[in-house]
Structure formats: structure tokens, C-alpha cells
Amino acid sequence: MPSVTYTQPDGSQQTLEVKEGTTLMRAAVSNGIDGIIGECGGQAMCATCHVYVRPEYADALPGMSDDEDEMLDCATAERLDRSRLACQIRIDAELAEIVVDIPPAQL
């Protein structure tokens, strides 16, 4: 089973085993990972599941829609090159051991 590692702003890490096809947001919310809210239920409407994906996984990520791009522009924490909305990233074999950093704020 693929795994996802979430890194908190204080550096602490939690690793979850995640079924293929699950989004990074759903896995986090379902497992009580602090700092990922997903208030709109995964519709890329609220920008409260902002994460920074570690650069080594960048090539394996799905493309970014215009909507996601525009929502990220307005996320609460600073947007970086590696910013994504966790609700838009489904875990597949290529992302089997992905590591993401959680920004200091979502609201």
C-alpha cells in the first residue's frame, strides 16, 4: 500500500498507509492530521488543504487546473513553487512514498 508522510511546521512527521486513489486531503482529514482542513469537501473551493510537496515528487504529480492555480494564489500561507491543494492529488503508484510539508496556517 502507498504511504504518505505529512510534515508539520515544527518538523514532526506522521506517515499513513493510504489506499490508491485516495486524495492527500481525504487521507489527512480521515486520520486527524492537524493543519489540513478541507472545508469544502475536496472541491478546490476553499484553499484550506494547501501543502508543499517535496521537490523530488514534483514530476510524478498530476497537472494543475486553472482553478487550483488561482485558489493557491490566494491561500493563507505563502505560495511556493511546490504548493498544491491536497484535495487535487490522488495517490497512485508513482507517488507511493510521497512526503509533503504542511504550511503554518490554512485560515
Binding site: G32, G41, T48, D66
Partner: protein
Amino acid sequence: MSVVIIGGGQAGIQAADTLRSEGYGGKIDIVAKEAGLPYQRPPLSKDYLAPGKQAVPLPVRGPSFFNDKDITLHQSVQALAIDRVQRKVQLSRQSLDYDYVVLATGARNRILDCPGASLPGIHGLKTLADAEALHAALPGARNVVIIGAGFIGLEFAAAALAHGCNVTVLEFAPRPMGRALTPVMSDWFADMHRSQGVNLRLGEGIDRFKSATDGRVGAAVSTAGVSYPADLVLVGIGVEPNDSLAVEAGLETSNGIVVDGSLRTVDPAILAVGDCASFPSVHAQARLRLESVQNAADQARHAARTILGANEPYAELPWFWSTQGPYRLQMAGLAGPKDDTLVLGDKTGGKFSVLCFRGGILVAVESVNMAGDHMAARRLLTAGAGITRAEAESEGFTLKAVAKTLKVPVPA
């Protein structure tokens, strides 16, 4: 100290979360009517019903949340009464003492009252159980009739169309989503749904349902006397606030549980938030009740802070969204039917915003497939930027460019 939260939806869970995360150390009980883990409702009428999607509810918080935060979740339990003198909430098998009650009881679907309205095959959509029933019924459905062209009805219309069904929508009013949208946006969505193949009948309500030979619903007869074949019907004619507990406890209600700016009822130990609360809106300059995730979550945070001693009036900017087929509608602020409107962007191409002005000042923005405009509008309206129509009409104006000049934090 003890807080009893009645309602296990987005508002109830958020109130508990904010109480804990902002330092409240007392007892928290959440009384939830439904079984299972509290789940998010917005996807139920959208992704959840799309063809080929796995139908797995998204929890509002994971199962460990309640233990981790020392919050007691009473599942499948109804609050029966509030004793304001003894300060007890009566449940079916026990009572809970309280210092504060947060009413987050939500709303229930308005019931259609016409001949045949209880025939098998006629559905509502509010709960996970409702969505599961529709998810199971859609792949086998052929002729779908939807009563009511509100958000739920039209989101469902798009889903049913994607399943290859023939879709008819009956709406008594002259415009779809007319209560929430400007006429220009409402008309655009009417045209869009028709061009996708929805038979949208405006100014035509439901008169009665006829049963098929198998005893299930077979047709919907409209107020125009037209009979539309139907093997699956969705009724989406709005909701009513769950305010009976408040009424029985002697609290004031008027299209919802009446609260003041701090979200307290007339009894300062009882607050109300979300779909069930009628509150004084600084944005509408009127008392109103809103049905949205934003309103539920922001009011819950606010009520928690009121309990913790804050005394600010609730003033968060309302925002809302709907997805209908390939179009994402986002609204910031509250549009009024008489607002002066200005369209920016490509209406024909389905990528545009409607700016709403009242007294010459920007008060609301509706956007289709323009997330950047929406987020910029939220920032501008929250900051009270006071954009005039003349500014918005000037050469090169964009909401995003103006929002970038603001030195205010991004709204939640």
C-alpha cells in the same frame, strides 16, 4: 464547566474543535442525530453522484479526533428538551448538565405536499442515506424529473445527465436559483442547462405524481397539465430550520432560531449557529439565515469564541459555491435582486464574473470558472474596499489586480 453541542454537522463539530483549540478545558458533548461519523454534505450532491465515482463519505473529522480532543460524540441520539432552569439537556436515556448549549441543529428538507408525493422512486437529498439511495438508483434510471431548480436540483440535474438520463426540471418560479443569484447569472445557468440537454421548465410547478403499474412513480404532472414520464424523482424545494427544541424551550424563533450579533439567543447560555440560526447580517443589513459550509464553520468558530469570553459581532463575509456539470459557480457577498450588475469576462465562453453594486459600491461578486476573481472578491469585500462601478468599468480593471494592492490578510 460543560458545553453541550446539539447537532453533529459541520457547525457542531467546528464549535467543539474551536473550543478545544482555543483553550477550553471543560467537558464537551456533541449530540448527533445520525449514526456514524459526522460527514461533509457538499459532495453528496456533486462528486458523490458522478458516474464511476466511488461513493465514500468524507468525514468532517477523522475517528481519532473525538478521543484526541476529549470530546464525547453521542451518535444516533436525539436531544429531546432543554431545561433552562435546571440547565440540563434531556436525551433519550440520560440528561447532560450544561453551562452553555450550542444549537447546531441544521435544517431539514421541505416536504412536498401533493398527490402521489410519497410514491416509491421519489427522493429527497440531505443526508448520506439519501445520497446512497440516489447513487444506487441513478445507474438504472431513464427518465428523471426534478422538482425545484435550486442548487440541489440543478447539481442533481447535471449528475443525472452525466448518467445518460433524460432530465426534466420543474420550477414554479420564473428563474432558477432565483433567491440567491442575480437575474443575469440565473439566466445564464438556465441557458447552460438547456444547452446541455436539460428540459428546464420555468413557471411550471408540480401538480401531482402518477404511479406506474408496478406501484412506483411513473409520471409527474405539472401545473401546466403536462405529464412527464418519471422513474426517478428528486424533490429539492428548499429547507426549513430545525428549531423545535428552541421553540419548546421558549426561545424566540422566526425563520430560524433568533440570535444577536454574538450568536446568543435571548438566553445568554444558549447560542445558535449555522443553517438553524437567524442572525443580524452586517452584509445584508438585515436578519437572515444562511445555508452554507462557510456560514456553519465561521459561525461555529465565532460562537466558541463568544463562550470563551469574546464579545465581537459576527461579521464574516458570506461565500458559497455550486458545481453544475463543467461549471463552477462561486459567490462572494450577498447579491440582491435589485443590484446594479456589470459582467466582466467571457460570458459566451463560460468564464466570467458578475459584479453587483448597491448604492454605487461593490457588494457581491458571482463568478463562473473564475476562481481568481472569487478569491480576490472575498479579499476586497472583507476589507471594505468600496469599489465603485466607475472604477470597475475603467480600462484594464481586474478584481485580482486591485486585490493585490490590498495590505490585508487573506480571509478564511
